[in-house]
Subunit: 229 residues, 2 copies
């Protein structure tokens, strides 16, 4: 994601992004430019650029003259993001069944071992690793554009789970990750897709069923849309 060029801007961008993934920054939280800037020891200019990038990814929303906030995806948005995620990830599986780099399975198995290593600890790390498994799958297709889009929807799903799901402990069942690898390796594309589809359905279902009550802010902002300028 980060191209490692604009060091300062990219550094702030990466930090904010990671903080959002790990749900340290929660949906609806304000992100005042100078507060963030002081925190990282940079000027507002840098923070602004980072926020622009995050807004493009749908991770933050900005209101004119009001500032930036961590995004609070509505239920409709959540539905749409999940739909796109399933489209993309099913296709990732289909591609991987046709072509996968030599080291692919090693990388995947190794990643799952890492996930198992932190099993039980419902900390931010396990949340991040679960998402990164799906990004790794997409990267193995060799299609960088596809991988970028998967990365975007995965992280937005993380935001959705943070808003709507009761427990984030196991957004992804590690077992199912293993099953997906097995299915790809067996070359049975249809079965692999079925498992992935079921896996994502489970994640989505957890968000739908166990959704928390809306926060005050998101409730009011919903009504506010009808008044606003």
């Amino acid at each position: 994601m980060s191209d490692g060029k604009n060091t300062l801007t990219t550094a702030v961008y990466d930090l904010l992004r990671k903080a959002i993934i790990e749900q340290a920054l929660k949906p609806g939280m304000r992100l005042p430019e100078d507060t963030v800037g002081e925190q990282f020891g940079v000027s507002r200019t840098i923070v602004r650029h980072a926020l622009v990038r995050l807004e493009n990814e749908g991770l933050v929303v900005t209101q004119r003259n009001r500032g930036a906030f961590v995004a609070e995806p509505s239920k409709e948005e959540a539905q749409q993001i999940f739909e796109v995620r399933r489209i993309l990830e099913n296709e990732v599986i289909r591609i991987l069944c046709n072509r996968i780099p030599d080291t692919g399975y090693d990388q995947l198995r190794s990643h799952v071992r890492n996930e198992e290593g932190v099993r039980g600890k419902d900390g931010p790390v396990s949340i991040r690793l679960a998402g990164e498994f799906h990004v790794l799958l997409a990267e193995l297709t060799g299609n960088e554009i596809l991988a970028r889009y998967v990365s975007e929807v995965v992280i937005r799903c993380s935001l959705i789970m943070s808003l709507y799901a009761r427990s984030h402990s196991s957004d992804c069942a590690v077992d199912e990750h293993s099953q997906i690898i097995d299915a790809i390796q067996s070359g049975d594309a249809e079965r692999a897709i079925a498992i992935m589809d079921h896996h994502l359905g489970a994640v989505q279902g957890r968000a739908e069923l166990a959704r928390q009550p809306d926060s005050i802010r998101s409730i009011l902002s919903h009504y506010g849309k009808e008044l606003a300028q």
Copy 2:
């Protein structure tokens, strides 16, 4: 695409984007911040923000301390973008066969009439309209995230055609657009997808077969990747 909030930044962003779509700004062209700023009567700050957004979409690339350039997708990138475009647009068709708003067909037919109105003139307008047909299809799914991704790959395809295709006159055959609408309206999803797939294949093929010789810059930039910092 543009949210109409940050008026100045968004205005510059929209103008640059449109200029790239219509191939007035050609791949490899420089986009110096103050030149662009003077042109539009705004300061570099505004232009910078617009360029950041365009870079996120893959329409421009920036080199540290060197500036921004209109992107020159490599052949590999072009291949990847087309692959993602087919994935997304096939799925758009599949969705539209299941659900399409009441006014959908009217909007589509109306758009095709516009395209026919400028037929023959190989100007920038026909190029833009051809792309917007595909974006309109995506928007009719009601899935904004999906529509945004389609919009991104469509415009990047416009960049690719500008680089590699001999004639941009008819990136899309208007007849085929009508056929696609017919197929969706008939409810035959498989046929509709087949037509869309063929349609995109034709566009892609035109880029592959009639590709122009690489520019010096894009050739050297390819080798340069092995040296760079």
